[in-house]
Subunit: 213 residues, 2 copies
DNA sequence: GCTTGCCTGGACCATGTGGTCCTAAGCACC
DNA sequence: GGTGCTTAGGACCACATGGTCCAGGCAAGC
């Protein structure tokens, strides 16, 4: 994870510290938000000191940007595992169920690590915004690639547009996260994802292949 | 808008000042976010003074809570105008177009006034969270009421579930706002809303009544 | 017009927070 | 074991920011 930004020598110990900082920032900023998390919070939670924070990151903004990359990599890694071999509608349903289950563990709170940063950062840090935007695009591509495979395999009709379907599904997911977070209840997220899956289902070659859940 | 919170005497001038503060907070916090907006920013933008802020609001948290109500009322008022007489699918399309057009004016930036506060506040201020949640519920009810009218009028099939459809549409809207904000481009919001409308359309009695746009 | 109490201006304060810096310890390589 | 780097600890600073306070203005009811 920790990519040395410059050509400085860096030791294993240094890398470990940097990761500890990022991991703590990740944890704290997910529940409190980016702006509401102080460097002292992070320093304390990561068992480091001020000088180490500023040794590894130029300033808070740089730390946040690193966190954006860190989370992006985490999410994409997780999603790649779940979507890489997607070839059937039931695979999508399994993917949906995993996300819902994970979110239900904390009653809809916190939401998506990427989505929660987006609204806070996108009008404040152009660089973070574009990184987030690219991560969303990569995520959607994982989905649309799967849909392409389904279409090529004859499961989806030719007039299905994998890119648009993926965007719609991602919007339903993010909107579902948001409503679930507001309600402190996963239900709206389920409804939203089911709507998106139902929409994809309407492009299946034999429409009643399998139930949504 | 300005509801006096206690039984204090309050003059027209006082109400005007209070509204000016709320209006400035509304404007600033929409683009910078809640936590990133300072009271001094608000004081300056509203042409008031510190003592007036604290005369009308106990502290920043109370101001934010008042803003949640203020925005909620604004959004519901706007949405009521657009949804109150909804009786047809083309009405939904017009509603969609209005939202998209409004958002496209600033290239997808800022997003929904309610959604943008949600992720920042819901894990930080329980009272604000529940107020937001209720506002979303009321907003969804405006939609589902319209869908109910469509169903009663014989336009929607009996097996259509207005509440779930409304939740799905709201999630698509909010997710669309979020992706549009990240991309600084309305396109994903359009795709998301079209997906939700297409889904609703699939419950129309005569499915090909009219095109989506 | 005078008293009452809301309304307003703005100086002032305490503290949280991002950021700096100096010193020393660890480590790798010679 | 010496040299020069990285890693670490933590005191320290400047300042933004939330919050207080008081003196005076203004409006409304008597």
């Amino acid at each position: 994870m920790a990519a040395p930004t410059n050509r400085r020598r860096i030791s294993q110990r240094g890398i470990a510290t940097r990761d500890r900082i990022l991991e703590a920032a990740n944890r704290l900023m997910l529940v409190r938000g980016v702006n509401a998390t102080t460097l002292d919070d992070i320093r304390e939670a990561s068992q480091t000191s001020k000088s180490q924070l500023y040794h590894h990151f130029a300033d808070k903004q740089e730390l946040v940007r690193a966190l954006v990359r860190y989370r992006g990599a985490l999410v994409l890694q997780r999603e790649r595992a779940g979507l890489e071999r997607l070839r059937s509608f039931s695979g999508l349903v399994r993917w949906r169920n995993a996300l819902v289950q994970a979110n239900s563990l904390n009653n809809g709170k916190y939401g998506c690590g990427l989505g929660s940063m987006t609204l806070e950062l996108s009008d404040q840090d152009e660089q973070a915004r574009s990184a987030l935007s690219e991560t969303f695009a990569a995520w959607e591509r994982l989905i649309s690639d799967g849909l392409h495979r389904m279409r090529d395999g004859g499961l989806l009709r030719q007039d299905a547009d994998p890119e648009k379907l993926a965007t719609g599904l991602m919007a339903a997911l993010q909107g579902g996260y948001l409503l679930a977070n507001a309600a402190h209840d996963v239900a709206p997220m389920e409804v939203a994802l089911d709507m998106a899956l139902e929409h994809i289902k309407s492009f299946l070659v034999q429409p009643s292949e399998e139930p949504t859940r």
